[in-house]
């Protein structure tokens, strides 16, 4: 209806069309006629705010100790060598990878099953389950450290990476399930029905029809899981006691907490911590926004 209105408005009444000057500035953006400088100036200011901190970290990681130059030249690898070998960031990196990938796999698999149930079935406890998912968003993981610690102690999982994987998975599940069920709702049921008619079982129909369409959503959810457990440090700090089991954020925290902070080592450790998440981010960036509009905001 609005389209028809617009059509009517432009054609028979030329007086209503914008003056030539405004028309010249018209672009294909959503809100037309925004002068370019009003986009570029604030954007550049914000980019400065975003990028200077990253640059600062790279600067400290790459320039020799004691240098105060604002350009990291000559570039040195001494800080990286130091944190990787002496500060055992190599071991931390490996542990973080294990935790990240395992949480990714567990979160995605469990949330996929749960999300499918919520999207495609109506069953008595569904409402209660949804409510539990939402309510769990209000329960802070940090406040549950004590009972969680006791549970893992009883399960004899203290100082095993498994405890961190479970804790990370559990706290990411609610949002992941809500997101995935949103994605599945967007896939028409009729597509699945068609496959059933063709003789597929529910599972095969799901794998053949729904799963390929879910790929962007699953990548988004899996990446959230990976990035979140890669960055999060409280569970690792509390449940892992020996140094050979620690993860990168805990390693960074020990560098921060040291009496005399070795800034070069800290920065190099930061760069090592940032590299995998930046790669993941670059990979999912284009799905990020569509992922959110399909899943979270629309519910």
């Amino acid at each position: 209806m609005t389209a028809a209105l617009a059509e009517q408005g432009t054609r028979p009444a030329p007086a209503a069309t914008p003056p030539p000057a405004a028309r010249g500035r018209r672009r294909r953006g959503l809100d037309q006629g925004v002068p370019r400088w009003q986009i570029y100036l604030p954007l550049c200011l914000y980019l400065l705010f975003t990028l200077v901190p990253f640059y600062w970290m790279l600067l400290f990681a790459l320039r020799p100790a004691g240098s105060t130059a604002l350009v990291p030249w000559p570039v040195t690898g001494e800080h990286f060598q130091k944190v990787w070998n002496e500060r055992s960031f190599g071991v931390f990196f490996q542990n973080s990878m294990i935790v990240g990938v395992a949480s990714l796999v567990m979160t995605t698999a469990v949330a996929l099953a749960g999300g499918y149930a919520l999207a495609r079935f109506d069953f008595p406890v569904k409402k209660g389950f949804m409510l539990a998912l939402l309510a769990s968003q209000f329960i802070p993981g940090a406040l549950m450290l004590v009972p969680l610690f006791e549970i893992f102690k009883n399960l004899q999982m203290i100082n095993s990476l498994g405890s961190v994987v479970i804790a990370e998975t559990v706290f990411q599940l609610p949002l992941s399930i809500i997101l995935i069920s949103g994605f599945i709702k967007n896939v028409p049921v009729s597509l699945e029905e068609q496959a059933w008619v063709d003789g597929c079982g529910r599972f095969r129909a799901f794998c053949a029809v729904v799963l390929p369409l879910l790929r962007p959503g699953l990548i988004a959810v899996g990446s959230f899981a990976f990035v979140h457990s890669w960055n999060h440090f409280l569970f690792a700090l509390m449940f892992l006691s020996s140094q050979d089991k620690q993860t990168i954020p805990v390693g960074l925290n020990t560098l921060i907490g040291a009496d005399s902070v070795d800034l070069g080592a800290l920065a190099a450790g930061g760069v090592i911590a940032a590299v995998p998440v930046v790669i993941v981010f670059a990979f999912i960036q284009k799905w990020l926004i569509t992922g959110f509009s399909a899943g979270a905001v629309k519910g």
């Binding site: 925004v34 469990v110 905001v297």
Partner: protein, 308 residues
């Protein structure tokens, strides 16, 4: 949404009989069991501990305490009220500034311009960085002898040797800025996602009718974004309240307890102070406050009240 829920079950029931009735339960079982074991059960233990004296270092005093912990919180713990006030100040400042900057940022990168893809990737990138890594980066920037302030002082702005993190006057804003740095992108992504669902026709019709940019924003964009804004501010508020990563590592709650939020106080009481009973009671109070504020917020903002 209503028909999305209503349609599938009809299909299911027609197609299959007994086993299919069990299928949804099998599907939610893994998630349900994990959440029962590692969210519900710990939550109940928190409630149980909150009624007890439970201190690892003073085992002789352990036992049932009734509401002793709670009366102590409400009547005999000035630090609780201090941390509550700071939590409120922290959450409100962060959420308001993140909303404002996030909205502006989303509107900016929603426009079509040369280099938009790259600009989006760059301004959203701190989203991927979080917690301790944010702290690492801002520690380097705030460092008094080698950080930004030194170079500013070289250029004649400010003084040498000032650490914004150890000065009670600046530490709050220093932490706010660091948190904004990683928080704004997330907000912007959520708002941008919703911006993209506004039909373009609406804007065209409005400009044809002579509505200027400000009026189009006020009468089309904002009303459309209302629910997304309410939901994202609520989620961010809860998150900013609960999250302790940044403050724990950046300021440690200091100087002089100036940046201790309630969850940070709980963590200090329970984990460093070993007073699990009291920490559990604090947790319970924090949870109740959070739930109360959230419900109040949803009521006051009339979430989903009027149709778009």
């Amino acid at each position: 949404m209503a028909d999305a829920v209503a349609k599938p079950p009809r299909v299911t029931r027609r197609r299959t009989g007994g086993p299919a009735r069990r299928l949804p339960y099998l599907l939610i079982a893994p998630a349900g069991l994990l959440m029962l074991g590692f969210i519900a059960y710990p939550m109940l233990s928190v409630l149980y501990y909150s009624l007890r004296n439970y201190n690892v270092t003073k085992p002789w005093r352990n036992g049932y305490a009734g509401f002793g912990n709670f009366t102590r919180i409400l009547t005999d713990d000035p630090q609780f009220w201090d941390t509550l006030v700071f939590s409120g100040k922290w959450v409100v400042t962060e959420v308001l500034l993140q909303l404002l900057l996030g909205l502006v940022l989303a509107l900016l990168v929603h426009q079509t311009f040369l280099g938009r893809g790259l600009a989006r990737a760059l301004v959203f990138s701190p989203w991927a960085v979080s917690g301790v890594l944010t702290t690492t980066i801002w520690m380097l920037l705030y460092n008094p002898s080698t950080g930004i302030s030194r170079y500013l002082a070289d250029a004649g702005i400010g003084t040498y040797g000032t650490s914004v993190l150890s000065d009670t006057g600046t530490v709050f804003w220093a932490a706010v800025v660091a948190e904004l740095w990683r928080g704004v992108p997330f907000f912007a992504i959520l708002i941008l996602a919703d911006l993209q669902s506004i039909p373009r026709d609406l804007y065209e019709a409005a400009s044809v009718d002579g509505a200027g940019r400000a009026r189009r924003f006020l009468h089309i964009t904002l009303p459309h974004l209302k629910d997304a804004i309410i939901l994202s501010t609520l989620l961010r508020g809860v998150w900013e309240f609960n999250n302790v990563d940044l403050l724990y590592t950046l300021t440690g709650g200091g100087p002089a307890g100036q940046t201790t939020t309630l969850p940070l106080y709980v963590a200090n009481t329970g984990i460093n102070g070993h007073d699990f009973g009291y920490a559990s009671a604090l947790t319970t109070v924090a949870f109740v406050i959070l739930l109360f504020c959230s419900i109040l917020y949803l009521r006051l903002s009339k979430f989903g009240g009027d149709a778009k």
